[in-house]
């Protein structure tokens, strides 16, 4: 009797331990729309969310099935890579050569900013104002001053 009870308790404990796993397996962790915006339709060469070809329809069914089984987005993407290869990913992963897709634009941006800064600095040095004074004052010449004084005298009331 005691043996039966202990077996029953062990089974119950095992079921309880498995219950969260079973529940999480049935709970969707992602959605078709989330996945299809990050993967390609290999035949159409467009994002899956924009594709309606027969191949794309099959791919969407495949994703829906995995979503219903509770698979995460990353697991679904891994499954798609196993089926169609790396090119099914709309965004390259961050490993190996694919890393260059992220690093090269950053490097290019930094180089562009430095080049722009250097250009502005050189331009200011070449055409900008001298450090030791403002713009050269351009006043009237002596003759002009004389004429101006004469004119003003004429209107002196």
């Amino acid at each position: 009797m005691r043996a039966r009870l202990s077996i029953g308790a062990m089974l119950a404990a095992a079921l309880l331990a498995l219950a969260p796993v079973a529940a999480s397996a049935a709970t969707p962790q992602t959605s078709l729309s989330e996945v299809e915006s990050e993967v390609m339709c290999p035949v159409c060469g467009t994002l899956l969310e924009l594709a309606e070809s027969p191949q794309a329809q099959r791919q969407k069914v495949f994703i829906k099935r995995l979503v219903a089984a509770g698979a995460s987005k990353e697991r679904i993407k891994d499954a798609l890579v196993a089926e169609y290869g790396q090119e099914v990913l709309a965004l390259p992963d961050g490993d190996g050569f694919s890393l260059s897709a992220y690093v090269v634009p950053i490097i290019a941006f930094v180089i562009a900013v430095i080049a722009l800064g250097l250009g502005v600095w050189k331009w200011r040095r070449a055409g900008g104002p001298p450090d030791h004074g403002g713009p050269t004052p351009v006043g009237p010449s002596a003759a002009e001053s004389e004429r101006l004084d004469a004119d003003l005298a004429r209107y002196d009331l």
Binding site: P42, S53, P54, R58, A82, E83, Y84, G85, V88
Partner: protein, 174 residues
């Protein structure tokens, strides 16, 4: 030429080079009659391991690119199976290559049409790209020396198989 001009020319050349590399790496000129068939190994659709077209060297191979989602592939499958049953053996086989398809769907297709000829998987379409296919189905008859002898874009028919392929199989192997 000033240093500034040299830098500008080099920058333009770099951009043009990158564009050319992108176009060349994406594009495919395909293969023509008489060209050697690509021989990259592919995984089997059923079971483990891989095979390549070269494994069938010495006999004729009708390479059939197909996919389960392709309507015309369904039309031609019975004709290919019938031809395989009549002519398949040491000196000839149809070799199916399931391209850009889900493994499960591909296997279901093979089961549905009761296809008996060997099947390989080309999930990423790499081999189809090497052949220069424009879609599925496409068929390439490879001679015993591994060169392309016939090319059929679109579904192949029982008539074509009898009139164009069968006489080649009956002739000398070279």
């Amino acid at each position: 030429m000033s240093a500034r001009s040299v830098i500008a020319v080099l920058a333009v050349l770099a951009v043009v080079g990158l564009l050319a590399f992108g176009l060349l790496s994406k594009g495919s000129s395909g293969i023509a009659l008489g060209d050697p068939a690509p021989n990259a190994p592919l995984p089997r659709l059923h079971g483990d391991g891989s095979e390549s077209i070269a494994d069938y060297r010495g006999g004729w191979v009708l390479v059939n690119f197909w996919a389960s989602w392709c309507g015309p592939c369904r039309e031609e499958a019975p004709a290919l199976e019938e031809f395989q049953r009549r002519h398949g053996g040491d000196s000839f086989t149809v070799l199916g290559i399931d391209s850009r398809d889900l493994t499960g769907d591909g296997r279901e297709f093979v089961r549905e049409f009761d296809l008996s000829y060997p099947q390989l998987r080309d999930g990423d379409g790499g081999t189809a790209h090497e052949f220069g296919t424009t879609g599925v189905p496409e068929n390439y008859l490879i001679d015993p020396q591994g060169k392309v002898r016939l090319l059929v874009r679109g579904p192949i028919t029982a008539e074509y198989l009898q009139q164009e392929v069968a006489p080649l199989l009956a002739g000398p192997k070279s």
